[in-house]
Structures are given as C-alpha cells and as structure tokens.
Symmetry: C2
Subunit: 450 residues, 2 copies
C-alpha cells in the first residue's frame, strides 16, 4: 500500500512543470504523502524541486523540508528568505525546527529566529539550540502535556485540551509540582476511565522513567528500548521537566549508530550513499584505503626481511596471502563480537577474562583450521609435510594473536572514550596482516632455519 | 536514572536465596523493573533464577519471561507445567504470548494452548501462530481499539473503555464497516476535542496507512519509518482489520536486521554474543573461516603458477599481501554501500549504471593510490621504478575489478532473493584475494615477461 514513484509519474510531473500548469500539478500532488513528495523532489533538478516547493501549502512544505536529504534541503533553503523559512518553521515542532535552524549559516540563523511569529515557540527553539545534538537535550521536543499535581481530573482535561493542540502525539501526561519539577505521570488509559472529580495527586503514578538533558543519545536509546518506552521525559539539573523524547527520534539514533558501525567495519569514513557524487564517495573511501596502503608497505618490508627463505623454501611466499587473510578474518570476527557487546551493554567480566576466553576459543578454532591446512597443503597442493607442519603451526599462532588483538583493541579504545567500532575496519585487518606475516615467517625461520 | 546491577546487590540476592528468605527477597525485588529482574536472573545460575521466578507474581514473571535471553527462558519454561505456562501467557498480549508458544516443543505447545483460560485470548494466539514470523502477521498483535463507522462519539467512547482494558497502549482508534473492513482511523486528539453526539462517519480520517498480513517485516519497518507511524493496522486478503503492529516491535526488527548485516560483514554466521559458550561461538565463527581457508588454498595455487618470477623478480612476491589487502578493502567498501542502499531502498538506476559509476570512482581512487604506491615503492621501500610501475598498474586494475565485483555481487544476490549482506563478508574478501593475485601476476608477467 506504499506509494511507488514510477518513471511515468515523474515524466508527467516534469511536463506539468515545463508547461507551468501549477493548478494541475497541485491537484496531482494533493493526496500524496509529504515523505513521498520529498522523494519525488530528490529525483528532480533544483529548479523543478523549487517549483513544487513554492506550489504547496506551508503545512506540507514544512514536513517535506524535514524529509529531504540534507543537500537538497540546503539548496531549497538557500532560495528562501528568512521570513519564508520562519513561516515553515512555525509549522514544525520545536525539535524539528531547531534541527533545521542548526543547519543554517550563523547570520541567516539569527534572521530566521527574529522572524518567527509565535514568541513562545521561538523561545523554545532557541532554548533547544543550546544543547549538544548527541544529547537528550538535542533530541527532545518542548511540546508535551503536563499537569499540576494539585489539580483535579476536570481541570486537567481542560488544560490538556489546550496543551494538546500543540502536541501531535500525546504519549503520557506528566505531573509536575509548583516549581515545575517532575513528580510522575498519568496514563491516557487512566484518563479514559477515571471520574472527573478525582484529584490528580491521588491517581498519578509517582514512578516515572526520565533522562537528564546531558544524557548521551545512544544511552537514551538503550534505556527506552530496555524499558520499552514510547516517550521519556527530560529533566534539567534541578529536576524540572524541560522536554520529552519520543520513540521515533530514537529509531533515527539506532539506525544512525548501526549504519555508522557498519560503515566503519567496511572502511567507509563518513556517511555516504550510493547516489552521492564521486567526490563525496572518494572522500569517504580514500582515507582508509591510503592507510591500508601504507600498512601494506610495512607488510612488503616485513616480507622482504625474510628473503633468505627464497633459496630453499620459496613455497612459503605462496602462503603469505592465506596467512594474512586468516589473520584479518579472525581479528574482525573477534572485534565485531566485542563491539556489539559494548553497544548492547551486554559485555560482562574484565579484560583479562575476555582475553583468556578468546585465547581458548582461538586455540580451539586454530587447531581445527590447522588440521585442515596440514592435510590440504599435502593432498590438495602437493607440498611436503614439513612445509605443511610449519605453516600449520604458524597459522595457529597467527589466529591466536589476531583474535587477542581483535579483543584487546576495541575494549581499550572504548575505555579511552574512542568509538570501539573503529577496530573492526581496515585498521584491524591491516595491523593483523603485518603481525600475521611477521609471526608466520619468524616461526618458519625458527623451524626451517634459513 | 537507570538501575545498575552491582556485584554487592547480586551477592545479597544469592545470600537471601541460599538462606531461603523468600519474603525479604520479594520485598527487595518489588520495586525493580521486570527488565532489570530479567538481567539479574541471567547473572544467576539456573536454580537461583527459578527461585526468583517462582517467588514473584505472574503479572511480573510474564513480562520477565519476555525479556529473558532465549536460552534462559527455555530452561525456566522446562521446569513449568503446561498450566503454569498458560497462566503466564494469560497475562501477556497476544503477539508476545504467540512468540513464546512458538518456541515450545510441539506437544507442550498444544497442552499450553488447551490450558489458556481466556478463550478469546487463546483463539487470537492460535490465529497468530499461523503466520510466518518474518511477516506482518507474525509481528502483529490482536489487541486494538476499533469502532464501527455507524456509531457516534458517545457509543464509541463507551466501547473504547471496554476495549482499552485489553490494550496496553492506545495509538489509534481504527474505524471499520459492518464486515470488519478497515475504513479509516480516529485520532486520540480528535476524541479529546469533539462533542459526544457527532457521528463517527463524519469525523474519521478515511486515509489510513496499512499493511497486509503477508508483508515482510523489514518492509513494514521501512514503511513505518518513512511515514513516521507509531502503529500500523494489518488487514487480511479481504481488507478486514486483523491486527496492528506497534513501533516497539519494529525497533526489534531494525536492530536485528542491522545486527545481522554487521555479523555477516564480520564473517559471523549466526547470532552470538560475547558471553555465549565457546562451542556456540565456534559454530558461528568457524564456517566462514573454513571457507576463507579453502579460498586461501586457491590463492596459494594461483601464486604458485607464477613461480617463474622467482628467478629475477622475487620482490613481486613481497607485494602479494598488499595487493590482496587492497582488493579486499575496496571490494568490501563497494558492496557495503550497495548493501546499505538496498536495505534503505535508496538505490536508483540499473545495474549497468551502477557498474559504470563504480568504474569511474575506482579508476579515480585507483589512480591516486597507484601514485602513492609508485613513489612509496621507490622512496620508502627502495625498489626499481620498473617494479613500482608494474605493481602500480596492477593495483589500479585490481582496484577496478574488486570494486566491480563488490558492486555486481550484492545486486545480483538481491535480484535472486539472497541476502546481499552475504557479499560484504569473508566471501567477497576471499574471492577478491584470489582475483587480485591472479590479475597482479598476470599483469606483471605481461610487463616484465618471466
């Protein structure tokens, strides 16, 4: 039942724009969801997108603005005056409006704020701009329904009707004291089922989950998931209710975090999409490749140190890619499991316990793989057993070391406040390549003596 | 404000259990959230966990069951009779109850269903068991608030009070016709602000997003995110309203999907956690490693084919790990971007357009990296320019081929209904290793002639 943009539909829109048939286009787009119109605009060129934007009502264009890709939004906003932008923002909730203002250049930012019509709304938005975007303060909206603990249900319902006008989705009714400090909550269900004369203080639930304005966004996400919350109130240093975060904002945090980890694991250094420009994609891809290349230089140098083996054991050099690949794969497996454990907060025990377990695991896996290698190198590749034994012993050692590095690095990065997911990408594979080759040839040299 | 399990607290619990001080333990756990009690139980041994479970009220234990890790839950359930399990399930909503029943062995499943007290509830659960767990039907709950389009607001509110008793969170009020077909929805806000005599048919919103019972869960997640929905109704083949999916279920789908992609990229073949047993971890890690090892055999064989170069160009063999690593890194970058594009449904254009763009991108990146390599191999590693030029030309070729493979494979897997994320793991790095080395030596042979 989702709307799909067809090529025909796009062609129809482009034609209507080129023929300047505004009313027909307006009628055509009238029943289409703003999220879909945003997608349509992203398929069109700048001029056509602006044409559509200027055609629609500000109620719809404000939502479209929010859905657009950042680059497209920037272009659209560049063509609007401060007053026009302010009109769009007046339609949005405080958190969304603050997000858009935050993207504007400093000068335009101030102009737009001064043009906002609703003074309360403007004050709330300015207040939100103070917070770090990765904190609960940066996620929250000021729109919420709150009632005083001293009221009764009737007053409460009246007040709520007024407040609810500004709130698109009522999740919970928060109860505060005279000083605005969060005391508890009322459920909507209670409201549907209690008599109007009951005082609020008698029916509110005093136990309420909350976060502070400076709680990290990923922490807020974890708490809301764990306790299965659809909205959570945010309090300031004094315990006063200053905002609320809803589950849809949290989904964005979860997705962004997962995407970021995935991209780090794949060696992509900034958030890009397949449809971004070649320059953007290069900026995201080249840095790690350059680092991997420099790491490769070290691997070349290390291999070169063992040139002596060329005389009698040249076959050893055929195995270097295999050793390097196994080191890389094992290292990434180890660190990925640690990174997920850290992200989900399920990682128990000390670093030493982790390393000890990983050692047992990698010894076990390494032994199995070495046996395969031993027979494989003899029967499949036709090498002498002495070569097979040498490479197999090296393989176990490399697997153990690689998995210890894969365990140690993310835990240590995390301890020093660095994103542990860094340890899953080319960084770990490159260093494991180098260590792997060094260990491999050192062991071979010790056994075979060249 | 989140509860943290301390070692002291765990020790206190263990002591109370060993001294059989049930009442004290009950009081201690009384104010603790079920999600936290589930975490506590996971830290205890089987007997202690069961002790706590038997101590608490079924209202709380039912929720705890849901939060527990699958293995712990299985053990707890094993110790309960069918009647006891049925009592737990009677406390849960239909979707959660169905999820738990689905995990039971066939025989116990039937016993539990026959012991369910609330017949309507039982019927709903059995109905849900029919659906594939990865479909909208498998995600949905039967609990929802629906009203007939022919009622007025007063009847509607009365009926809702009854229905709302069974629904933990009222998101939307759905409007159906006499045959139960979904017609539209009423917002809670409308309910707070409309007079009681108004007929429903006048105030309901006829445009409502919905999914069908057989829509894929990831598709449901995408639609709910795109259209910013907190709940979505589910209809059967006849358009009849049969359930609803809430946003918290979708968060699980999003997290699972992201975790799965991440694990595939890291070469982990089933969902494991750092705290799982060594056997479980081996089962998840060994398969891809064995495959990578077998791929490594091919790489050894391929390298061996170029043994002739050992005489005059042995330095070429020092570069194989570098070439293989670059091929692997580039391939993973390319396929990760495609996999994310497919997951987010943002991938436009045809396969040929993708490949053409990737070719331009990789030529550009490859050129930059080759220049670094050319100078690096001369100034840093001290090799002849002819070697540097040979390796550089090989590097560009390898990068282009690896990125084309990285683009082609996930798109093609996806086309044939196979998870494209498979293409980001050891599978792509291993095949790129092999192709990389083959191309590298072939180019070197063509240039240097050995």
């Amino acid at each position: 039942m989702e709307f799909k943009i067809s090529r025909d539909f796009l062609a129809q829109i482009e034609q209507l724009i080129s023929e300047n048939k505004g009313q027909e286009l307006y009628d055509l787009l009238h029943d289409i969801h703003y999220a879909d119109i945003a997608e349509i605009m992203e398929e069109l060129d700048q001029k056509e997108a602006s044409y559509i934007f200027n055609l629609l009502d500000s109620e719809k264009t404000a939502e479209i603005l929010l859905e657009l890709d950042e680059e497209v939004r920037e272009k659209i906003l560049k063509n609007l005056t401060a007053k026009e932008i302010a009109e769009e923002l007046d339609e949005l909730s405080t958190d969304d409006a603050a997000d858009i203002i935050a993207e504007l250049p400093q000068e335009k930012k101030e102009q737009v704020i001064s043009e906002l019509e609703d003074v309360e709304h403007a004050k709330d938005i300015v207040d939100l701009l103070r917070y770090d975007e990765d904190s609960a303060g940066g996620l929250m909206a000021k729109e919420l329904v709150k009632v005083n603990e001293n009221w009764n249900v009737l007053t409460c319902v009246k007040e709520m009707r007024i407040q609810a006008e500004n709130v698109s989705r009522v999740h919970s009714i928060y109860v505060v004291d005279e000083d605005g400090r969060l005391k508890g909550r009322l459920s909507l269900k209670d409201l549907l089922t209690t008599s109007t004369k009951t005082p609020i203080s008698e029916i509110y639930i005093p136990k309420v989950d909350y976060v502070k304005v400076d709680t990290k966004d990923v922490e807020v996400a974890r708490i809301m998931q764990k306790y299965d919350l659809e909205a959570i109130p945010v309090v300031d240093e004094m315990g006063r209710l200053v905002g609320r975060i809803t589950i849809d904002d949290i989904i964005d945090v979860i997705k962004e975090e997962a995407d970021k980890d995935y991209q780090l694991a794949a060696g992509i250094s900034q958030d890009v999409e397949a449809d971004d420009s070649i320059l953007e994609l290069t900026k995201a891809r080249l840095p790690w490749l350059v680092l991997a290349l420099l790491g490769g230089f070290i691997a070349v140098k290390v291999t070169g140190q063992f040139e002596g083996a060329m005389e009698n054991y040249r076959v050893l050099f055929f195995f270097t890619p295999l050793i390097a690949a196994m080191a890389g794969n094992v290292g990434v497996q180890s660190s990925a499991i640690i990174v997920q454990g850290l992200a989900n907060n399920t990682l128990g025990g000390t670093l030493w316990q982790r390393l000890f377990k990983e050692m047992k695991l990698s010894l076990f896996n390494g032994l199995l793989l070495s046996i395969i290698l031993l027979f494989g190198s003899h029967f499949l590749l036709g090498h002498d057993y002495i070569i097979g034994i040498t490479v197999s012993i090296a393989l176990i050692s490399v697997i153990v070391i690689a998995s210890l590095i894969g365990t140690f690095v993310p835990i240590t990065l995390n301890k020093y406040g660095i994103d542990p997911a860094l340890a899953t990408g080319p960084f770990i594979t490159t260093s494991n390549d180098i260590f792997g080759i060094l260990i491999y040839f050192s062991i071979a040299k010790a056994i075979l003596g060249f």
